[in-house]
Symmetry: C2
Subunit: 496 residues, 2 copies
């Protein structure tokens, strides 16, 4: 009977874990999309109690033994074993930090986002620096609690977002990227001086209601299933899901910018299709969703590989022109494609084109390394930020708001997330190259046959949720691990 | 130190109770307004686990003693004592039903709503009858678990919705209402035969986007604070709240009906203003919100006492005409007021005017009594329903969908809720009569000064949340208990 007992406890744990996590996800969603301004403090209290209950759940007596029994159980399915491994990893991570420190950190980061937001508005890094210093100190302490032989503190965070990825591995990855991208950027800058790409037509007056209809149609065209999802709006576009049958994506509309909402929509739809493609048995569990890097690979795949290609727009460009005939009626498809693929180094990551994007990530990666190993102090951060932007992108932020304070991540205590964006770009290009050997992707796009493309991704990527990481997936699909060369080659071809 | 200990446990309990209840409320809201069709089953699982956790929270060892200590504690605030009393009442109610039966009932009612919905579409009461029978049997059993000397099974449910209200009390209340209303209805029917009230203009083609703007403006005009609330849409309009700084109301727009959304908006805004007016120390606790009858009194107050009066529309009717100039431009204010106050007996409660509305409630009240005490069997329910509609309203439902299957309440296992609607109507009229002695309500409405009216309600009703019931409030405010005569008098004046 022992087996039955431990499995019962395990299933009970999984049910509660799922229920609490789903509730927390729903609060996050609601907070980003709908909750009124004034709700913050009171709702945060309930949220805090549920978060603490989530940690408590992992702290219950005997859970470690239960996980061990499931992992070693003979009549236990491989899925259960994988779930036990994943839960054990989560348990270690949650419990490594003493309860009181965990709570203090939650309080700190709850308040710090507001302080960051204010400092950003006022372009005043000095006022935010002490807060950032405290966050950094706590995170470094937490990393020390989770130290393992041969892991740097930064490694601890990097592998939270994409298991197995280390500073050493990323050093060589980013070195290769830099070498490939910098000459291309220099060439583009030179060319831009001769003749800039026309894109004014994207920034005229575009009725928001019309944009809503168009983008909703676009998400459906790409394959987002509305019967199993929600398409909404928020200040910063994002994707979340309660499970594969309730996947939620948002976009943001600007009256004087057609491009922004379109590419946010395509990007988030990529994330959304991934979540909708999770296997039944994984969704909702700790192995549902996807790892950060793989998730970004899917959004970038849709946004860039597909969404910026001429073949993708061929069957639907007429529809876009008809919808916005006044502004787009006389713009040729080629002019549109040139405009959405223009490149120009700028100071802001979220506005960066796909050629310069990874340079923004490399700046952050180098700064995070310095902060983590103590080579760089928060006091010197702004100066170093500006120096690196000068070196890699040839620009200097005019203000702290478009410089060192532009991203929310550090204010939330997230160090080590940024690299996922670059890893995602590289994986997307690698996948595309492999897919294109099996099927003529451009031809499918020209025919408007998105199903075969998403079918490929669903079978090889989406259904595995977070049960397989980037390296494992790439090895299985392409026969080789992550290789930056595909991405560089893709950029070379486009910006030659 | 003992005092500190039990208070600590009590506060910890209150925090968890609030967090879980808030999460469940958010799931309910999301389910009604946004969640995709396919999400139901998976999300319901998480919801079920959280509901069970809510029950578990009340079942923890020693809680009864903790509540007792708080109630008897010397240095305990009166609020804490009231919370302990309320929590103890909730504990008794939750734990009276064995865990397994509670779960079976939840599963039963989760599925029964769908079955009801299908049966309603197919106008087939017989297919739903066995489900209803099972629900009724379980509810009667639950009532028997909670039996107390001198309480009928129906009393158990009636007092859940409005404490202290019993079958005996309601029998005389409804008897009085019937006597007052039936002659008025007979007179209206006679008059309608001579000349019907023109209202076609309300049912032309009304652009939904324009309706959205108008109704949002209307909610703000009434005093709903958008910075502390959400105004959204759902199939069936409703109000909910996470706490006083996050109150959510919905309405529903029909392209060919201007009236429906307007009066749903006013009704739900009444509920919403109530919740936004809760005192700081009560909101979010078990004493926040309001009892069912009092809640309905506020929505009806806004919808009928204010929203159907000429004085209310005087300052804003021009705005309505300008918004819908094509359809309303040539309709006089008097014609509009006549149209929104027209009365005609019909088979459907939610479409009933304020004169005939309570007759729909009386039908349900009499049927519920019969079902509860065993005089009426589910098998005979449809026939009895139709007979009573003939007797009181002079109409016969053409189908089960517009007859015995029209309401969702019984399918959800809710017996005893319907009377709240009638109680709310009566309380609203009684409050209005009293308020009108202190201030000239019509004059305030004519000046568009809604603040003094809502201020009166906030001070005397809203701030007390659910800490005071209908009878207590009415005694305090008007010096007498619930008295149907005010409502009858109000109807008489209007429909004389």
């Amino acid at each position: 009977m022992e087996k039955c007992d431990f499995e019962k406890v395990f299933f009970d744990f999984l049910e509660r874990e799922n229920a609490l996590r789903t509730a927390l996800t729903l609060f996050d969603w609601d907070n980003e999309t709908l909750a009124p301004e004034a709700a913050g403090e009171r709702t945060a209290k309930a949220y805090g109690v549920l978060s603490a209950a989530y940690r408590e759940l992992f702290a219950q007596d005997g859970l470690e033994e239960i996980f061990a029994k499931v992992k070693d159980g003979r009549d236990v399915s491989s899925l259960e074993r994988a779930l036990a491994r994943r839960a054990e990893r989560e348990r270690k991570k949650l419990l490594a930090i003493p309860k009181e420190e965990y709570r203090r950190f939650s309080e700190l980061t709850a308040g710090s986002v507001q302080k960051w937001s204010l400092a950003k508005k006022q372009n005043d890094f000095a006022s935010f620096a002490p807060v950032l210093e405290e966050i950094l100190d706590m995170q470094k302490r937490f990393a020390s609690y989770r130290a393992e032989a041969g892991r740097t503190p930064y490694d601890v965070f990097l592998s939270d977002y994409e298991e197995g990825f280390t500073q050493e591995k990323l050093d060589s990855f980013f070195e290769e990227l830099k070498k490939g991208i910098l000459p291309l950027v220099a060439e583009v800058v030179r060319r831009n001086k001769e003749r800039s790409v026309s894109c004014d037509f994207l920034f005229q007056n575009y009725d928001v209601e019309k944009q809503r209809h168009w983008n909703k149609w676009l998400a459906a065209y790409l394959g987002f299933q509305f019967s199993r999802g929600v398409f909404s709006e928020s200040e910063h576009p994002f994707t979340t899901s309660l499970h594969r049958d309730d996947v939620r994506i948002t976009t943001h509309y600007y009256q004087n910018n057609l491009e922004s909402a379109i590419f946010s929509t395509i990007h988030e739809t990529g994330h959304g299709i991934f979540e909708q493609g999770n296997a039944e048995e994984l969704t909702g569990t700790l192995l549902g969703g996807g790892t950060c890097g793989v998730h970004e690979s899917q959004s970038r795949f849709y946004e860039n590989m597909l969404g910026r290609s001429k073949a993708f727009w061929e069957p639907i460009y007429g529809r876009l022109q008809r919808t916005f005939s006044e502004q787009m009626g006389r713009i040729s498809l080629d002019a549109f494609i040139r405009a959405i693929n223009r490149s120009e180094p700028g100071p802001v990551r979220t506005e960066a084109d796909e050629l310069t994007y990874c340079l923004h990530i490399i700046v952050r990666y180098e700064l995070e390394k310095g902060l983590m190993d103590g080579e760089l102090s928060v006091r010197d951060l702004e100066g170093e930020w500006n120096r690196l932007y000068g070196e890699y992108l040839g620009v200097t932020p005019k203000t702290a708001g478009e410089g060192v304070l532009q991203d929310i991540h550090w204010a939330m205590g997230e160090f080590g997330y940024f690299p996922s964006y670059a890893l995602g770009n590289a994986m997307a290009a690698q996948l595309y190259a492999h897919m294109d050997r099996e099927m003529n992707v451009e031809e499918l796009l020209r025919k408007g046959d998105l199903d075969r493309i998403s079918g490929y991704l669903r079978e090889r990527v989406h259904r595995f949720g977070a049960s397989k990481g980037m390296e494992e997936l790439l090895l299985e699909i392409t026969g080789e691990g992550l290789n930056a060369e595909y991405y560089i080659e893709y950029l070379r071809k486009k910006h030659k």
